[in-house]
Symmetry: C3
Subunit: 314 residues, 3 copies
Amino acid sequence: MQRPLGREREIPPLVEAVVKTYDEVSKINHLGLSPLPSREQIIEIITGLKEIVYPGYFGRQNFTRDNITFHIGDRMLSVFRALGQQIYRSFLHECQLASPDCDHCAKAAEQVALDFLGHIPKIRRLLAKDVQATYDGDPAAKSLDEIIFSYPGLEAITVYRFAHELHIMTVPLLPRIMTEYAHSITGVDIHPGATIGESFFIDHGTGVVVGETTQIGNNVKIYQGVTLGAHSFPKDEKGQLVRGRKRHPTIEDDVTIYSGATILGAEAVIGKGSVIGGNVWLTGPVPPGSVVTIESPGLVYRDKSRRPDKQAGG
Amino acid sequence: MQRPLGREREIPPLVEAVVKTYDEVSKINHLGLSPLPSREQIIEIITGLKEIVYPGYFGRQNFTRDNITFHIGDRMLSVFRALGQQIYRSFLHECQLASPDCDHCAKAAEQVALDFLGHIPKIRRLLAKDVQATYDGDPAAKSLDEIIFSYPGLEAITVYRFAHELHIMTVPLLPRIMTEYAHSITGVDIHPGATIGESFFIDHGTGVVVGETTQIGNNVKIYQGVTLGAHSFPKDEKGQLVRGRKRHPTIEDDVTIYSGATILGAEAVIGKGSVIGGNVWLTGPVPPGSVVTIESPGLVYRDKSRRPDKQAGG
Amino acid sequence: MQRPLGREREIPPLVEAVVKTYDEVSKINHLGLSPLPSREQIIEIITGLKEIVYPGYFGRQNFTRDNITFHIGDRMLSVFRALGQQIYRSFLHECQLASPDCDHCAKAAEQVALDFLGHIPKIRRLLAKDVQATYDGDPAAKSLDEIIFSYPGLEAITVYRFAHELHIMTVPLLPRIMTEYAHSITGVDIHPGATIGESFFIDHGTGVVVGETTQIGNNVKIYQGVTLGAHSFPKDEKGQLVRGRKRHPTIEDDVTIYSGATILGAEAVIGKGSVIGGNVWLTGPVPPGSVVTIESPGLVYRDKSRRPDKQAGG
């Protein structure tokens, strides 16, 4: 279409019409205020953190124990700067001063970024146990390397462990942007507010939902399509949703939850060592050491030649 | 592997063998014809449109109400050019003249691109209601900003609202490439042909399917894993699928559909204000104001120590 | 935050603490060893292969039957080099010599890369049948072009067909990185070890899982959320999972499996021509020509005005 674009002169009034809606429908624009966090920058921070916790797998390779310090030092410095900046913007977003600059927010952001870097050794120890739990739980896994390279469950857990640290240091916005990025590339939706113990294993992963106030113990395994969700949404006297209270399940140590199971509400406390079968729907407590399965719904078998096929799913 | 690549001389006959299949299996190549739309360009158009409808969140920041017109004007001009080009290629794809150039298609594409830009104010008003509906429906949402930045349901709805405008202006190919891009990054599969009212909220989103001829009213909420699909695929006298007829559900105003529910077929009209419970499977109409749940399949509880665990899902 | 970054001087001890964990928790780092495959490179190889099998759709356009050989020849040469390199690194990963160089691995990698290129004509013939099966199975598909551009099911099958060839030539690591990349962008998780016949169609796709030892015949259709998984995970006398044995279903020719069905275990042999209804859960064999549906769990209808809504799913 190599044509003179004569009709470009019709654009300006269309621009005016759009810009007018920035006054009229102003709650979905953000103008003249302090800058918001940048999703692109946050994705780069995650990339940098993955190089730090899994050195040799992502980004540059060919490091030795002798020279790795230079590379990781450089990486940690970049992450510190970018993370400090994004935490600052996140704090500013909730700052009561509502000024474009806030020295208090800047200092707090720097402190949180440093504290976060100080937690990386602890996070690495946790991730090593998650990788091992994945290997121990999946007969299709051929090596730890394969898991680190390619398992979406581990990717989602890795990003969750970063985001959760920032969440408990009360950083707004940023942790959720991190976990929703992971959700986007893995299909696994873990809220940064969830509490998750050691040696967590998610297989396949697509469709997993772990809600904000979920508590998960050690050595828990969950499969694709499992929801740990809320059961009811109480409203206050103004009809507004009540936010912040515990409304998701508690999963004790050594529990396995098979694919498609749905466990809803704060009363659903799944006792230590229990096994929840595929497609089970639970809203109450389960005693430790239980196996819960659904009574298989009767299956109807018939000969295809007798009636035309009608059922579909797409 | 710094080796002389002696075996590269064995490549040419392999190339010949592949190129020969371009004659033999020609329906999956596109040679010597007019150019097809470019998926990369279409993704850039979506990026530009998101900057226009949510200014200050994506792309450049630090705009004020005074200078935003320059930036948005520039953005709209770029989108106009790229969109015009991609619409032109899409029209050409179905053009009966089958020539590499078609002045009629070029003019029509320019007109559709201008009309589309003229619809952006309307789209922004709709999106503002979708954002608000998300906030009102999800106690985990801390602010509208968090939703705009990170909610996959809103991302899918945003792209759907762009694509649907192009779909109703009969642009082929392009709208579906847009919504399948959104499907890829959100797990939410909304066909651009679906009709969706105001204040639509999708939570978590992974696994949601909204089929081509679905009609959805205002204030509808759906959760992860909900399918609004087809129930049977009638064929014509030649055994070919009949395309285009209504074959998906109608969801009236104020309906909520919980996770994993499956609603299939044009006869499934879900009446105003109804609530469809998790995992419900429906193929017929539901009167207004109904609550439909499944009879919980009996759960079998037993003590784990009595039989080895056999059930799995991965 | 334009502040003097005085606190950067606090970074070095934090770096030391992290680097110390590379000794302590060494199983998730890879230092001083031969290079691992690069996920970025593998994604580029997939991009190149898609240009070769679907010329004119992805990457550069405007080729004719006369000049396409130059472009495809150039592409195949690049793929040969990159693939040879990545296969080499994958072989080296399992090489018993554990040296940073292995001439035997290099030669084997070159051979496998050449053999793989020689299989592309066969792969194109298979993909053409997959595209046609998608068109024949989905009334929403308007053209083959739309399918090649935008159907996630076809994307996942395309990458699987590449990865499976490498898998049967015993390349470690690389095939799984390929299919998990496809999983990430499509929500469809097909293990490269699965065996899949001609004319395979996956609709919508999100949440589909096809396990390592699954066998699928010709003309099989599956919908979103279908799991073809394992049923039990036997351990050896040391308590380690037994890896490699058949533990997934067999799906014979002409079978259709609707959304959300779960079929688990090697004993689940679904006979030719059968139809498995939505949400069915199966762990045993089904005779040829069967239609298997669940006894619809009774639905409970009530008037919403009588009791407050409590059920939720998010």
